[in-house]
Symmetry: C2
Subunit: 417 residues, 2 copies
């Protein structure tokens, strides 16, 4: 890794001045064996920025956090997994607000200095009777550790927590940047079913942080797809508390560009880690489109290929099926000319000028047998390009997503429905 920064231990707890905590309330399992409620808190005031799902059906915590973020002064985030608090009406809004209020008071914050996020099943009321008794333990548990427990508390169908932290110099001051994500299904461009929390002890004004976050999300989280489904709860929240001691960053200055570069790397790695941990995923495929007339054309082609059930099924089978790739390119609505299209798989020609290339099929099969490979699509029409990160579609994915009935039964036992 030839990068101007070094990896350090942990995630959101790694930057100075941040405290994290996590408890098990029994939302995910009645025995409370799994962590499902987490808290991030900065001792110092923070700049904050974020971005949210573009789904028109927005979960209650999304609405509450969007509102809180207006002043860019969020200093704490409470998050739960197991229930998305989506399609829960006025009661859901009330529950999300009460989660903010419950941690704001003992931390000496205003309610709109607390962000709230939920992820899990849609349409069931929040089991507040499980959450409320745990607020005390959650706040008492705040600690200086690296944040891995928090990262665990937000996962649902993920197989493991996903976090990353780096440190780097900004004009002589050591700065730390940490992050964690969750998300494994309902993953699609324009925000996945995904929560991402970023913390840093850099000193960066909210407006500048916001610009950096939006730019980096566009080239990281908006470039991944697992199943083409977009969630009601997607949230990225970034907090910067300046605890590194640096002077405030100037917008568009050199330090700002360096910070943006580090944030881009961190977010891209976190985004890729979501695809790699996708529900029952066996392949990680980078699809690079180049030679498009316009950026939008390149994007349309990448999305059509990365979302095609047939293309994804063939990847699962280790089949270097360029015919299915070109058929998806054809229906992408991008401006293309079939006879100009080249497709390379792992650097080897699969299709040249719209026709079968001479690479022996077994060579291509050997590439697609790997768990990670690249596909390059050259439209040979212009200079625009686009990259996306996708996964295969496995029979096990479908099997895994066949029923959420267990959640409904639990909700009935809880007397919620």
């Amino acid at each position: 890794m030839d990068l101007p920064f070094v990896r350090i231990k942990g995630g959101v707890g790694a930057p100075r001045g941040f405290r994290t905590s996590a408890v098990g309330c029994g939302i995910k399992d009645p025995e409370k064996k799994r962590l499902d409620l987490g808290l991030i808190y900065s001792k110092e005031p923070c700049s904050s920025a974020g971005t949210f799902t573009t789904n028109r059906v927005k979960a209650a915590p999304v609405k509450v956090s969007q509102n809180a973020l207006r002043r860019g002064e969020i200093r704490a985030i409470i998050a739960n997994s197991g229930n998305a608090n989506a399609c829960t009406g006025v009661q859901g809004l009330h529950d999300a607000q009460s989660m903010c209020a419950a941690v704001a008071k003992p931390l000496g914050l205003r309610r709109n200095q607390v962000g709230v996020c939920s992820t899990g099943v849609i349409g069931l009321p929040m089991p507040m009777m499980r959450i409320e008794p745990m607020y005390g333990a959650l706040i008492e548990g705040l600690n200086k550790k690296n944040g891995s427990a928090f990262a665990k508390s937000i996962i649902t169908s993920d197989t493991h927590e996903k976090e990353l932290a780096i440190s780097f110099d900004l004009d002589g001051t050591r700065v730390r940047l940490g992050g964690c994500v969750k998300g494994a299904g309902m993953i699609c461009p324009s925000m996945a079913t995904m929560l991402c929390f970023i913390t840093t002890d850099a000193n960066i004004p909210s407006a500048t942080l916001r610009k950096a976050v939006l730019e980096c999300v566009e080239e990281s989280f908006n470039r991944i797809t697992i199943d083409g489904d977009m969630s009601t709860n997607d949230t990225v929240l970034a907090l910067a508390n300046g605890a590194s001691g640096m002077t405030p960053m100037r917008r568009n200055g050199k330090r700002c560009r360096q910070f943006r570069k580090a944030l881009m790397w961190l977010m891209t790695e976190l985004a890729k880690s979501i695809v790699r941990d996708g529900e029952r995923v066996t392949k990680f495929v980078s699809v690079k489109v180049k030679g498009a007339r316009t950026y939008l054309d390149a994007k349309k082609v990448a999305e059509a290929v990365c979302k095609s059930q047939l293309v994804k099924s063939s990847w699962n089978g280790g089949d270097p099926n360029w015919g299915r790739i070109i058929h998806a390119i054809g229906y992408s609505r991008a401006s293309i000319r079939e006879e100009l299209i080249d497709i390379h798989i792992g650097g080897k020609a699969a299709c040249i000028g719209g026709l079968q290339a001479e690479t022996p099929m077994d060579d291509l099969r050997a590439i697609v047998a790997h768990p990670e490979f690249d596909i390059t699509i050259d439209l040979n029409q212009g200079r625009a390009d686009y990259i996306m990160y996708s996964s295969d579609l496995s029979p096990e994915y479908v099997d895994f997503n066949r029923s959420e009935y267990a959640y409904w039964k639990q909700a009935r036992r809880d007397g919620l429905i």
Copy 2:
């Protein structure tokens, strides 16, 4: 069935004056046990009309048939299954044209009076050395039977042939209308991987036939989805030879409206039969959207729901998961208001005003356990509606589509690659 027409035996061979034939060339299996080359021929001159895939990557036979159709005088159709003749370049165009020429000559037709269709694997050269020796047997085999052998010769992953024929009176003259389809995967609105052939002994000018075909395709084949993938080869071709003895139909006249009604019913039933026979499909779901502000909004909602991998997986699991339905409605980009949305499953309320309805979950589960059920989504915002026919997504679908390697091995044995 309270309809102003009666079902008769067979499909494209049922109308008067049509002859059909089918042979096994060994494209689908080297032992030639399966029929894979078929022919439809009308003794009388025909009006003809058709519609083709909107995929920008079009197979060679699509280009050749589109060109032949310009004069609206197609009288014969040659079709093969097992190889799509797509992404095959100049050689593919030559092969498609030579298929037309080979049957045109002995039938005394011009080459552009013959339509050609192919369906099967993409990107492999046509095995002409298997097809050419069989032209003689194909033409000699033309017969007055009902056309079931032809319907068999065009199927690929379909589990059975799909055909239908009806007869009805047009102002005192008995008229027959027959059709057959193939298609089980790569099925998506704006034409599926689907071939549909319609024959009739009605007397209808090409322009009038064309208008009726386009209108009926819009409300039948463009309303179905299995996997959201759009093919390179989709074709609907309709031939009308006037052999019933009726006088020519007037555009927009009463007989034309009656004919259109019959064609709509026939095409809708054929379209539904494709979904029911979809690759490893276990559920047939009619999704009715109503109360939309605009037709386009209703369409966007129906398509988002019918294409969502998560919604389709839940149907496979017999899970009446309205949360996933509303999340797909949310990302459909239609104008919606969450708090106004009602969702009924099999007539029972699952979601009212964006919230969980009071119907016991087990009642809804009993409905979704059926192989066929309806979902009604009322947006309560306007008066536009839209209906789509969809299927579930099964683990077996993915498993089935993991690899087409067997085709490549066969092509290598044939010396084609």
